[in-house]
């Protein structure tokens, strides 16, 4: 038994600590599931921080990330894409409930995707990491199809299978099947990588279409604009919000 204990200690620097499920269970409804799963070590760290300290701790870390972004954007040898990605991942890890006024995730993604577009003469456009920021951003907007159109038009991420796969999924969910099919075919024609994955996703899609499930139909609506001003509690923001 003792031998086991010792080896365990030796091994610990490499393997992350074991997280107690109780901590995660207690807050399970405040954890938005992500397709990629979550880093439970980060999750339990934030969940076990007492309410009162959480804000101070988060705002200090946020400042550091902000600062790093500033430096990276100004320094020609730095990698602002990497720094933004780290900032976004930190936000995902530390605001497990997802998009909220508090996390500012949506605003951060908006900023990162736009700032990096023309940074260093557009050298990030082909990077998978950059595309991933866009894909995450698209998951929060009301009509992601517009985002994917924009990416295709601006040659962002067009070498990656991910772009076509996500675009097609969004179209499929809107019930636009032939457009979805076209999205797969475009990616395959362009030899987007990994090609085999795209091809197999396309094949799965075609199989689904053959069994023709009824899918939700698309509709139109516009989100209310978000405003940034000094707010007082229970002040009327609008009594009849206008569509944009």
């Amino acid at each position: 038994m003792e031998l086991t204990e010792n080896i365990e200690e030796l091994a610990s620097p490499e393997s992350p600590p074991v997280v107690d499920c109780e901590v995660l269970e207690a807050a399970k409804e405040n954890i938005q599931p992500l397709a990629s799963g979550r880093r439970v070590t980060a999750l339990s760290a934030i969940l076990t921080t007492p309410h009162a300290q959480r804000d101070a701790q988060l705002s200090a870390a946020r400042k550091r990330h902000r600062f790093n972004v500033q430096i990276a954007l100004e320094d020609d040898d730095d990698d602002p894409l990497e720094v933004y990605t780290r900032f976004v991942n930190w936000t995902l890890d530390n605001y497990p409930q997802g998009q909220s006024a508090e996390s500012g995730l949506l605003e951060l993604l908006e900023e990162a995707t736009r700032t990096l577009k023309d940074d260093r003469n557009g050298r990030w456009k082909g990077e998978l990491k950059y595309l991933k920021l866009w894909v995450l951003y698209a998951s929060f907007v009301e009509r992601p199809v517009i985002i994917y159109k924009f990416l295709l038009a601006n040659d962002i991420g067009t070498d990656h299978a991910l772009l076509y796969e996500e675009h097609a999924l969004v179209l499929e969910r809107d019930g636009r099947r032939s457009d979805a099919d076209a999205a797969y075919l475009l990616g395959i024609a362009r030899q987007a990588t990994p090609l085999e994955r795209l091809q197999s996703k396309h094949a799965e899609f075609q199989k689904r279409m053959m069994t023709a499930a009824t899918l939700p139909t698309q509709s139109t609506s516009d989100p209310a604009p978000s405003s940034s001003r000094i707010r007082s509690a229970l002040a009327t923001s609008s009594s009849a919000p206008l569509p944009t």
Partner: protein, 208 residues
């Protein structure tokens, strides 16, 4: 006389505990296979167990397969030769291990005076503990990655060197480990009978 009686009682307790533990593995394995989508949900049906609803496979081939494995596990439990059971979920294509559901089998310390056994643990209490573990398995979807690609599973039994092994049925194998640097680990609850204490955990591949 007293010691002989005590020994008989212990034997009965061991048998009872072993079947409780084996049964738990059955429901835990079914819950994992359902929750993690290793088999399509159409293959499962609801049964009442532990005072709640549990999803169990109705695919005869899979049911038989699990029965055969659990029959051997039951034997090993009786002889105290199994120390751990692992349900590994593996990507069908790449053969990479995505998740390892680990159940440690420990023996509860016997009472200091065998002629004065502690009162048996109420079954309702054991059931509540088991219910809690199954509930946690269900809750893990809040942090486990979505598995997009087809997967298969493999059940591993860790036994003592001296364990009786039916040679043509069970073979030595790779532990199907996840590299420590890419592994996240979560400890689940445990449950205990008068003889066994089962500790559960899940390790999963996380690459951010």
């Amino acid at each position: 006389m007293a010691t002989k009686q005590a020994a008989t009682r212990q034997a009965i307790t061991l048998k009872g505990s072993t079947s409780l533990v084996t049964e738990f593995f059955k429901y835990a394995a079914n819950t994992i296979l359902f929750q993690r989508g290793v088999y399509p949900s159409d293959d499962f049906h609801m049964v009442k167990k532990y005072g709640q609803t549990v999803l169990v496979t109705q695919d005869l081939a899979l049911e038989n397969y699990l029965e055969r494995i659990l029959a051997q596990v039951n034997k090993w439990l009786l002889t105290g030769s199994v120390t751990q059971l692992v349900l590994a979920i593996i990507s069908k294509e790449s053969r990479v291990t995505l998740e390892r559901w680990v159940f440690d089998v420990n023996l509860v310390d016997p009472p200091a005076d065998p002629s004065q056994p502690a009162p048996p643990k109420p079954e309702a209490e054991i059931q509540a503990e088991i219910r809690y573990i199954l509930k946690q398995i269900v809750s893990t979807v809040t942090f486990l990655p979505i598995i997009d690609d087809p997967t298969v599973f493999n059940i591993l039994a860790y036994t003592h060197d001296s364990a009786d092994v039916p040679a043509d049925e069970w073979v030595d194998t790779d532990p199907l480990a996840i590299e420590a640097s890419k592994s996240q680990q979560v400890k689940l609850r445990s449950f205990s009978t008068d003889v066994h204490r089962i500790e559960a955990m899940v390790a999963y591949r996380y690459e951010g």
